[in-house]
């Protein structure tokens, strides 16, 4: 195996030269490259900028935008930590504190955690699958523009002091008109419905892409785990998002049209909100970690220089986690006075879900233990994911116990748990993934020495900030309260937590500097700087706009490690295959076996997704101001755009001759 898996350290004699000086494993002959480039490249100027449907551009935009929201949410957290650093502080008023913790939660959960994974999946899916784009490129652009529009919508009222202030979960009756008369909650309800459209169209695109847009031979048992993770999350989103959209629509109607869905006076049921919200909320929690766990499962083995241990178990556990994840929503409602039978069932289900969740952890540990580890920065981040996941997972399974949950619900123990899970499995995995895949995206390596400082600050800062929160919760400090008394015994711990938060923030700042210097003057990466096995490393860094000049034919799970692993006579063929240069086109395959069965003509640049998002933004803004005429205008514009979207073109030839390169 060592032939292709030499460590970067071994090559440092070539300072300034690419890490991987070899040409890409998937050839890109100049004459074909020129023809494909002309067919696929974006138009210059605004049409190309607003009209691009390239999954790589969209993926990078997703990542950058979600990082902007991560920084905004982080700054909100820092302001809160200044307020909480000392007892009886008055930096913030209670109302400002409510808005900050609500917007912090909404931002991190909805505008960072899911979109950043959509970004990675958008960028990586076609490259890993050996395809040229996603199944529906225009839908892909739409999901990004809608995400951006919903983010702007949710944030527009923040400078005016009217941001959502009912928590990310928005419980009624606190969020009803009686107790929240301002526009804050209307923005929350409409904003979540708006964002839900983006999530749904994006999820549908991932599902169809997985089923149809793969290289020949990429059967389901050869898919990278990231694909399994995002696929599972996408199917879950299709089924979960309508629950929260419906709940938000009902709350908006209750607040604006006088309906009685949640209002007890008219026969409504406040708990209906919690059921609908958590029917969505818990699957969503898994949707924002499973793709991140997938990235760890794919990238960690590269730095251990061996395949992932227990691929089949990890893939099936990913799906199993989500299936059980639909049956545990009631554990968010243990303290609401539900019947004991229901509580017992959901408590049991919440214990059971620990089993599939833990499979990946053991698989990662075994991979490290049996591998030959390279102590790179991505490895440090991925390995720390294991530790943080175990801490967050154990504190989670503890609260599956009713008695324990009743004691700790609404305390800082839960805050500690959810941050260990979300930052531990999502953010640490994402930062590791940036170190791992930025060389592919930009063609440049990130500096390892600065990266170690980044890891040190982030890891120490994070644990300093969140480990003591367990203790605070155990001694009874309630969450979502703007201050505490000096005599309560919370003061020192809170000061330590605030210091930890700033140390963590320094780590993030250094991380951004690390990216900036890499983009400006990083060492060239070459096609495969880590010696990784999957198809995205078979093409140049950054990849050409059409990804693969010759569509690869896949014969194993590790197309670039076949010689080193020597598992059989079958070899993937990268230099021979379908050419597909008769227009902007790619290959579709059968859902399970990956047999080629159709040629798909791909759309070029188009302004329709952008226009549809603007129309949607107008529609939702009009609903917020309850202006019927403008809402009707926005709706009509949206329908008109959809008609243009689906307008038929000249029916293409029914069949096309196959062109191959050999």
């Amino acid at each position: 195996m060592s032939a292709i898996l030499t460590s970067p350290r071994d090559r440092q004699g070539l300072r300034g030269a690419p890490f991987d000086p070899k040409p890409p494993a998937s050839p890109n002959p100049p004459d074909i490259a020129e023809r494909l480039e002309a067919l696929w490249r974006e138009a210059p100027g605004p049409l190309g900028w607003f009209g691009t449907v390239d999954h790589k551009t969209i993926g990078i935009r997703y990542i950058i935008t979600s990082f902007v929201f991560l920084i905004l949410g982080g700054l909100e957290a820092l302001v809160m930590r200044i307020q909480l650093a000392q007892p009886n502080a008055t930096t913030l008023t209670p109302e400002q504190y409510n808005q900050l913790f609500s917007l912090h939660g909404v931002t991190m959960i909805f505008l960072y955690a899911m979109p950043v994974l959509s970004g990675f999946s958008n960028y990586l899916w076609p490259l890993m699958l050996g395809s040229r784009d996603m199944a529906f490129p225009r839908l892909n652009a739409l999901s990004y523009w809608l995400f951006l529009g919903a983010g702007i919508f949710l944030y527009a009222s923040f400078p005016l002091g009217a941001a959502p202030d009912g928590g990310w979960f928005g419980y009624v009756p606190n969020t009803g008109r009686e107790f929240s008369p301002g526009p804050n909650i209307d923005i929350y309800t409409l904003g979540l419905i708006f964002l839900g459209i983006s999530t749904t169209v994006g999820a549908a695109n991932f599902v169809v892409t997985l089923l149809r847009m793969r290289a020949p031979g990429m059967s389901v048992n050869r898919l990278p785990i990231l694909i399994w993770g995002t696929l599972t999350a996408s199917i879950a989103n299709l089924f979960a998002v309508p629950a929260v959209s419906l709940a938000c629509l009902m709350l908006w109607l209750d607040r604006n049209q006088g309906t009685h869905f949640f209002d007890i006076a008219g026969g409504g049921q406040p708990l209906l909100w919690q059921h609908l919200f958590w029917l969505f909320g818990h699957p969503w929690v898994y949707a924002i970690v499973l793709p991140a766990m997938g990235m760890v499962s794919d990238a960690l083995p590269v730095h251990c220089r061996r395949p992932l241990v227990g691929y089949t178990l990890v893939a099936t556990a990913t799906v199993a986690t989500m299936v059980v994840g639909f049956g545990v929503w009631l554990h968010h409602m243990f303290a609401t006075g539900l019947p004991v039978l229901a509580l017992s069932f959901f408590s049991a289900a919440s214990f059971v879900i620990a089993i599939p969740s833990a499979v990946s952890v053991f698989s990662w540990i075994a991979t490290i233990y049996t591998g030959r580890v390279r102590l790179t920065v991505p490895f440090l981040f991925f390995a720390s994911v294991i530790l943080l996941f175990v801490i967050g997972g154990v504190s989670g399974v503890m609260t599956a116990s009713l008695a324990f949950d009743w004691q700790l619900t609404d305390t800082y123990f839960i805050v500690a748990h959810l941050h260990y899970v979300l930052i531990g499995i999502n953010l640490f995995a994402v930062v590791g993934a940036i170190y791992h895949w930025l060389p592919k995206m930009s063609g440049r390596m990130m500096d390892e020495r600065l990266g170690r400082w980044v890891f040190g600050f982030m890891f120490l800062g994070f644990n300093l900030a969140f480990l003591p929160m367990h203790w605070l919760g155990l001694i009874g400090m309630p969450r979502r309260v703007w201050t505490y008394g000096a005599d309560m015994g919370f003061s020192t711990t809170n000061l330590v937590i605030s210091i930890g938060a700033f140390v963590f923030a320094i780590g993030i700042l250094l991380f951004l500097i690390n990216i900036a210097t890499a983009l400006r003057s990083g060492r060239p990466a070459g096609p495969d700087p880590w010696g990784a096995p999957t198809l995205e490393w078979a093409i140049s860094s950054p990849p050409p706009v059409y990804n693969f000049a010759i569509i690869p034919m896949v014969a194993s799970r590790h197309p670039l490690w076949e010689d080193a692993l020597d598992e059989g006579a079958d070899r993937s063929r990268l230099a021979t295959g379908f050419l597909l240069d008769n227009g902007k086109e790619t290959l579709g395959v059968t859902p399970l076996d990956g047999e080629p069965d159709v040629i798909l003509k791909m759309p070029g640049d188009t302004l329709l997704p952008f226009a549809l998002s603007v129309a949607t933004l107008i529609l939702f803004s009009a609903l917020l101001f309850r202006n019927g005429w403008i809402a009707a205008f926005g709706g009509a514009a949206a329908i008109l755009t959809l008609i243009l979207w689906f307008r038929p073109h000249q029916a293409p030839e029914a069949r096309e001759k196959v062109r191959i390169y050999e």
Binding site: P29, I32, A135, F136, T200, A203, A204, N205, V207, V208, L211, R212, M213, L238, F239, V241, P242, A243, S245, L246, M250, L253, Q257, G258, T259, H260, F261, D263, G266, G267, G268, Q269, L272, H275, L276, L279, A575, G588, P596, D597, V598, I599, L600, K601, I639, I643, F646, R647, P648, A651, P652, A654, R655, E656, K657, V658, R659, I660, Y661, E662
Partner: protein, 199 residues
């Protein structure tokens, strides 16, 4: 030496039915919209079982308009399917005739539904029952209206020649969406009109 070759083998372009990608996209739409109605029906049942002792508080809704409306909507699905199959066999005139008939039947459903709304003794904001009644039937009615708009656009395109014999995909997708809306109605009908008479 490497070279490019054109084989005699051919592959379909875009493909029809399950060979193409839009069929699978439509399946995703059905999944997410179907579950939306499941959540609506769950909300109806939750409000009914946890709240009022009398549900519906106004007695079971009348069947005098909803039965004819149901017959119109379900019938329109059969007419539309016949229209699609006629077009596939190249009989575009028959296809347009069937499409137009289905549109009229769908419009009849919308008219009857609006008439039933207007005749109700209660309004949207009267109680939890009135709220979920209008939201459940209204969400469905909005889907019918959207499907109707799609069928009208399809008819116009067919009349002006934009959709021809080769555009099987467009006809198929619009037809499937209409079928889906019909099937959903059967669940809505069972919830709102049938279940109060059984329980």
């Amino acid at each position: 030496m490497s070279e490019t070759r054109t084989l005699d083998d051919t592959l379909p372009v875009h493909g029809r039915g399950q060979i193409g990608t839009p069929w699978w996209g439509m399946l995703c739409l059905f999944a997410t919209e179907g579950i939306l109605f499941a959540y609506l029906i769950f909300s109806y049942a939750y409000l009914g079982s946890q709240g009022y002792s009398d549900w519906p508080p106004y007695g079971p809704p009348s069947l005098s308009l909803s039965i004819p409306a149901t017959i119109l909507l379900v019938g329109s699905s059969f007419v539309l399917e016949w229209a699609k199959r006629s077009s596939r066999r190249g009989k575009l005139g028959l296809g347009r005739l069937g499409l137009g008939t289905a549109i009229l039947m769908g419009a009849g459903f919308v008219t009857l539904s609006l008439k039933e709304w207007a005749d109700k003794p209660f309004g949207l904001a009267d109680s939890s029952y009135s709220s979920i009644y209008f939201l459940l039937t209204g969400t469905h009615l909005a889907h019918v209206a959207l499907g109707l708009a799609a069928l009208i656009v399809l008819l116009v395109w067919s009349l002006v020649g934009r959709v021809g014999a080769g555009h099987e995909q467009h006809r198929t997708l619009a037809t499937w969406y209409w079928h889906f809306v019909d099937v959903v109605w059967l669940f809505v009908f069972a919830t709102v009109y049938v279940s109060p008479r059984l329980i």
